[in-house]
Symmetry: C2
Amino acid sequence: MTQRDPGRLMQIGMAFWPAKTLLSAVELGVFTALSDKALTARELQHELGLHPRGVTDLLDTLVALDVLARDGEGEAAQYRNTDEAAHFLDRNSSAYIGGFLEMANTRLYRFWGDLTEALKTGRPQNETKHGGTGMFEELYRDPQRLEQFARAMAGISLANFETFAEKFDFAPYKTMCDVGGATGQLSIFVARRHPHMKCTTCDLPAVVPIARKTIDAQGLSERITASSLDFFREPFPKADVITMGMILHDWNLEKKMQLIQAAYDALPSGGAFAAIENLIDDERRSNTFGLMMSLNMLIEFGDAFDFTGRDFDGWCRKIGFRRTEVIPLRGPASAAVAYK
Amino acid sequence: MTQRDPGRLMQIGMAFWPAKTLLSAVELGVFTALSDKALTARELQHELGLHPRGVTDLLDTLVALDVLARDGEGEAAQYRNTDEAAHFLDRNSSAYIGGFLEMANTRLYRFWGDLTEALKTGRPQNETKHGGTGMFEELYRDPQRLEQFARAMAGISLANFETFAEKFDFAPYKTMCDVGGATGQLSIFVARRHPHMKCTTCDLPAVVPIARKTIDAQGLSERITASSLDFFREPFPKADVITMGMILHDWNLEKKMQLIQAAYDALPSGGAFAAIENLIDDERRSNTFGLMMSLNMLIEFGDAFDFTGRDFDGWCRKIGFRRTEVIPLRGPASAAVAYK
């Protein structure tokens, strides 16, 4: 009998190896050290404070993963960033997504170690597990960490926000309010592409100065207002279009309905509510990342969960929206849009 | 400016999500529960003792990863094993690789959480870190866990052992000794395919009864002897071919050389020494799994490491072997062979 190859299953089950290798490399600042120069393994070892044992294994794994390039072999070999790494993983790049990966490295990797317990108990496995405060509470206490987090989340959403600004038809509308808008990136893309639009980006008071800084830097403060909103306690500002990026999935069904209702209340007839998320496909068969994001919501919040376009449609119609549609963005992300 | 898509880097960095999902599913026995029947999410929830919150997210992620199949949608949908899952992930299958994945789930996932520390200190990050005994000491204390581990390791090596028995030219030889042979699987494949070969499989005394059981079950006890060997303390039994599967990488250079010397001493002139490993490619650019296995040796043992065919060639020639070659097996594995 010919033995079958367990290679594919081994690759899935052991994928925490390449993941953690990349996360540790980001944590150690490998890609930032290579920002403007190529270095040998020995030079990187000294610059990053590494022990000699693991340094070439680390660097050559990154070469094999195609995130570093290497010229030559042996001790004289020089390592440098690939274009992709230089763009996304160097802390000096404006497109840095390492903030998110650093968060994944410090928090999520360990919390996911308790996935089995989460599946058995339905309870979160993050800081709150041993009496710590929740993730958001922690973040909002430290302005610098909050800014880092907001920029990290923006970093991984940039391409989606840009695609939404391109694909969604803003012609019938004049105003947009982005609820939970963090650094204001979505408003920036919309304002840039659609000169007739006026935008408001809302978030908790601690986030407003971060958004204002970003908007000023883009010279868009005439057309984008950053304002404070506690979205469960205050009505949303009136606008023709209400957007929420990666917000709805953070909450249980009751709170999701409360947010959709608040969006409905703030819209005129004909207005649109758009949730930008890793929307799960209706058949729940293909958007692996969206499905796992929902497991991540279990890890972070317990009863929060990700959802399909069909789920979104059901909830929105219940509240009174006329119809919904799904606009695919990049990779696993889509915009679920409901029209009043 | 068009935003580039960070999708590939996100996929690598977040790959601990699909990995841990599969590992938790193996731990929970999802594939064993579906051994002989299809079940709904609710039935699986009860059978596996899960909380309702996460069960469909777990199962549908496994569908998206193509390790479960699902017939239908919604509450009546039935989940069943794919052929691949039935073959490799059901505890009732003789090709079960879940033993290795269970070990990865219980041990390696968490230890890899300390990869950064390992890279900074060069020290192991397993049980030994907080004064526990090492992995092997632990295993050899508990015969049942030892048998599980030996079978798990055999499970992921079956296809490689079979390929080695096929590809290596046994015609010039009459006897083989497999050093650190665990359950005796390599000897079984060689004896089955080459009726002229007599094999000995050697391991520590605790492992011998496990090997004997496996060999008896195959009706091969006439041609395969299971015997006891402490490979650092005793000379290897004389044989025309000496093999070692996933042994050399467990040790530092000094001990590697000691093992290669012991193999040399046990071989006749013209004899062959074969190390079956996830041999790193000479350029250290393409065998990602082999490179990461070397990082895993750092995590497990500190100074142990994986190696290239070129490294192996240098060590073997130093000891007196005439020449070496590399025989590719399945996926990331090869046999490095040295001829005396």
